[in-house]
Amino acid sequence: MAQLEIRNVTRRFGDFVAVNDVSLSIEAGEFFTLLGPSGCGKTTILRMIAGFDLPDAGQILLDGKDLADTPAEKRPIHTVFQSYALFPHMTVAQNIAFPLRMARRPATEIENMTREILEQVYLTDKASAYPHELSGGQKQRVALARGLVNRPRLLLLDEPLGALDAKLREEMQIDLINLQRDVGVTFVFVTHAQVEALALSHRIAVMDQGKVEQVDEPAKLYGLPKTRFVADFIGHINQLEAQVVESAHGHLRLAVDGLGEIIAPPLKDAAVGTKGVFAIRPEQVRIGVHGEMEELKNHFSGVVHNLLYRGEVSVYKVELANGAIIEALLPNSAPGRAELFKVGDAVKLGWRHDAGMFLRD
C-alpha cells in the first residue's frame, strides 16, 4: 500500500478547474516531485494534502485512512513554505521546538530533539538567533528543521529553493537529498524548475492545466517523454512535424515536409498516416562537415544560423532545408572546439536511428 494516495481528486475555483481528476500514489521514503508551470494545480494539490484546502471530489488517503475529516493541525504532515514562514518573535531553537511543544512532548525530549536536528542542519551556533539575523540559506534550513523535528509522516515543500540565488540553490539541493536520505521522511516537493526536479526526485509527476501528464523517474521523463508537453517542458528538445509512413517492428519511418524521411525508434500502435512530431534532444544531434555523417541513418544538410557559447558546451542552431531550426550541442572539452563552425557555415547534422522519439498529436 502506498503511503499517500490521491484518488481522482478534483478542485474547482468557480469555473476554473485547478485540479482535474488527479490520481497519484506516493511510496514511503520517496522524494516525490510535482512539477509544472505556475497555475498547473501543483500548489493546490499540496494545500489539499496539508489540509488547508479540501477536494471537491475524490479522496486523499494517508496510510489507507481518508484525511477528509482531519483538520490541518491534526495531520501528521508538515509543510516548508515558500516564504519559510518562520515566527519572527521566536529564536531559531524556539521555532524548531514549536511543533514539539504543540504535540506536548516532555521538556527534556523537546530539548534533545531540537539539539539533534540543529546539528543535522548545521545551525547549532544559531540556536538563540532570531530569524531576521539569518541569511536566506539559514532560514531555509530552520524551516526544514522545524518541519522535520517531529518526524512527520510526510514533509511537503512548496518551492522552498525559489528565493535563493543560483549557487546557494545548488548547495541546498545536495543538502536536501542528504537530509531526506538521513531522516527517511517522505518528501513531496513542488516546483516549476525542471532542473531542480530532475536533480532531487526519485519520481516526478509532470502537471499541466490541472492534469497529470506523466509520472516517472527523472531519467525516463527526460529520455522517454510520453507527451509533447512533457518533452517540451523538461529540458530542451527539437521538434519536427512528421507523419508515419512505415511502422515496422524495429523502427518507425517518418516523413517530414521539405526535408525527407527520418528513421526513428518504434512506437506501439503508431499506424501509417499518424501525425505528430519527431522530437530529439540537442545532445543527441551530431554536427559535422560533409562526409562525416554518412554512417548515420539520419543526416541532413543545413546552415549554422546561430551560435551560443555557453562555456562547457556550444549550442549550434542550424537551419535545415525546410526552414526548421535544429539545436545541436557540442561539448567544448577539446581545445579550440568552439571555433569549429561559424555562423553561415554549411554543415551536416546527423543522429542515430534509435535516437529521439515520435510523439503523437
Binding site: 488547508f52 490541518a72 493541525e73 516564504s83 515566527f87 518573535h89 522545524r146
Partner: protein, 318 residues
C-alpha cells in the same frame, strides 16, 4: 592577516562617510530647512513652557493668580523661592489618593478599551481589503462631531429619565435592589472615557495586525497549533507593539482628562486633571498647579519606563 584586514578597512570606511557629508552641503541645508521649523515650534511651545512650569513650582502664588515677585517690593508679602508646594503635596494624603484613583481610572479605561478594540481590530485586519478602509472610516467617524457634544450626549443617555436608566433600575427592582444613579458617578466617567478613547486603541492595533504575514498562521496550524494556540503564540505576541502604542494613546490622555469628570462625574470623582485645572482657574495657585503637573509627568514617565522595560524583554526581536 585577519587583524590587518580589519585595521585597514575601518579608517577607510569612516573616510568615505565623512567625504560624503562634506560633498553635499546642499543636502544638509535642506535637512535643516525641513526639520528646523517643527523643531523650533516644539522648542518654543513645549520645552520653554515646561521649563517655566518647573521654575514656577518653586515660587509663591501671586495675590490674584500668577506668581509672587522674586524680590521684595512690599514687606509681609510672600516672595522668593520655596519648596513649600512639594511639602504640601506630600503632607496631605488626599493628593496621593487622587493620583492613585486617576491611575486606576486610566488603567481600567485602557484595559476595557483593549479588550473591546482587539476583536474589532482583528476583524477589520482580516476583512477583505476593499471593506477595510470603510471600516476604519467608521471607527474614526465619531471625531467628526465635537468632543464636548459627544460627552454631553452621555448625560442624556445616562440621565435618570433615560430608557437605559429606567431599564437598569427596573431590572434591579425586580431583584429587590435599590435604584442607582448612573449619571454623576465613576461609572459614567469610565463609560465616557472608554467611548471617547476607543478609536485611539483600535487604530494602532489595526495597523499592527494588518501587517501580519498570514502564512505564519498557516505554518502554526500546519505544525499542530489549534485556533487558540495560534492566537496566543503567534498573533498576540506579534501584536504587542500595537498593544503598547494603543495603550499609551489611551492611558496618557485619560490620566490628564478633566472635561469628562467635570461633566459626568459626581462631586467625589475628582481626578488629577480636575485638580490641576482647579489650581489654575479656581484657587489661582499657579505654583501648586505646576507641582501637580510635574508630579503627573513624572508618574507617566515612570510608568512608561517600567512598561518599556517589560516590553524590552519580550519585544527584542523587532
Amino acid at each position: 592577516m585577519r587583524s590587518s584586514w580589519a585595521g585597514a578597512t575601518m579608517p577607510g570606511c569612516s573616510c568615505v562617510t565623512e567625504s560624503v557629508h562634506r560633498l553635499v552641503p546642499a543636502a544638509r541645508l535642506t535637512k535643516w530647512l525641513v526639520s528646523g521649523p517643527p523643531f523650533l515650534f516644539l522648542l518654543l511651545f513645549f520645552v520653554m513652557p515646561s521649563v517655566i512650569m518647573v521654575l514656577a513650582s518653586f515660587r509663591y502664588p501671586g495675590e490674584f493668580g500668577g506668581l509672587a515677585p522674586l524680590a521684595a517690593t512690599d514687606p509681609g508679602v510672600l516672595q522668593g523661592v520655596t519648596l513649600e508646594t512639594y511639602q504640601f503635596f506630600f503632607s496631605d494624603p488626599i493628593y496621593g489618593q487622587v493620583f492613585v484613583k486617576s491611575i486606576f481610572m486610566a488603567l481600567s479605561t485602557t484595559l476595557i478599551c483593549l479588550t473591546m478594540a482587539y476583536p474589532l481590530a482583528l476583524l477589520i485586519a482580516r476583512s477583505p481589503k476593499k471593506s477595510r478602509d470603510l471600516m476604519v472610516l467608521l471607527v474614526i467617524l465619531p471625531f467628526a462631531s465635537n468632543f464636548l457634544i459627544r460627552v454631553y450626549a452621555w448625560m442624556i443617555v445616562l440621565g435618570p429619565q433615560s430608557a437605559l436608566s429606567q431599564m437598569v433600575n427596573g431590572f434591579l427592582q425586580w431583584f429587590g435592589i435599590a435604584p442607582v444613579h448612573l449619571l454623576f458617578s465613576p461609572f459614567a466617567v469610565l463609560i465616557a472615557m472608554v467611548y471617547v478613547h476607543l478609536p485611539f486603541m483600535v487604530l494602532p492595533l489595526y495597523t499592527n495586525l494588518e501587517k501580519h504575514d498570514p502564512s505564519l498562521l498557516d505554518a502554526a496550524q500546519d505544525l499542530g497549533a489549534n485556533a487558540w494556540q495560534r492566537f496566543w503564540r503567534v498573533t498576540f505576541p506579534l501584536s504587542l507593539p500595537g498593544i503598547f502604542s494603543g495603550s499609551a494613546l489611551v492611558f496618557i490622555p485619560v490620566l490628564g482628562m478633566f472635561a469628562i469628570p467635570d461633566i459626568l462625574g459626581g462631586t467625589g470623582d475628582m481626578l488629577i486633571g480636575n485638580l490641576i485645572k482647579e489650581q489654575f482657574l479656581g484657587t489661582r495657585d499657579w505654583p501648586f498647579g505646576s507641582t501637580l503637573s510635574i508630579m503627573l509627568t513624572i508618574a507617566v514617565l515612570l510608568i512608561a519606563w517600567f512598561t518599556a522595560r517589560v516590553a524590552g524583554h519580550r519585544g527584542s526581536y523587532a
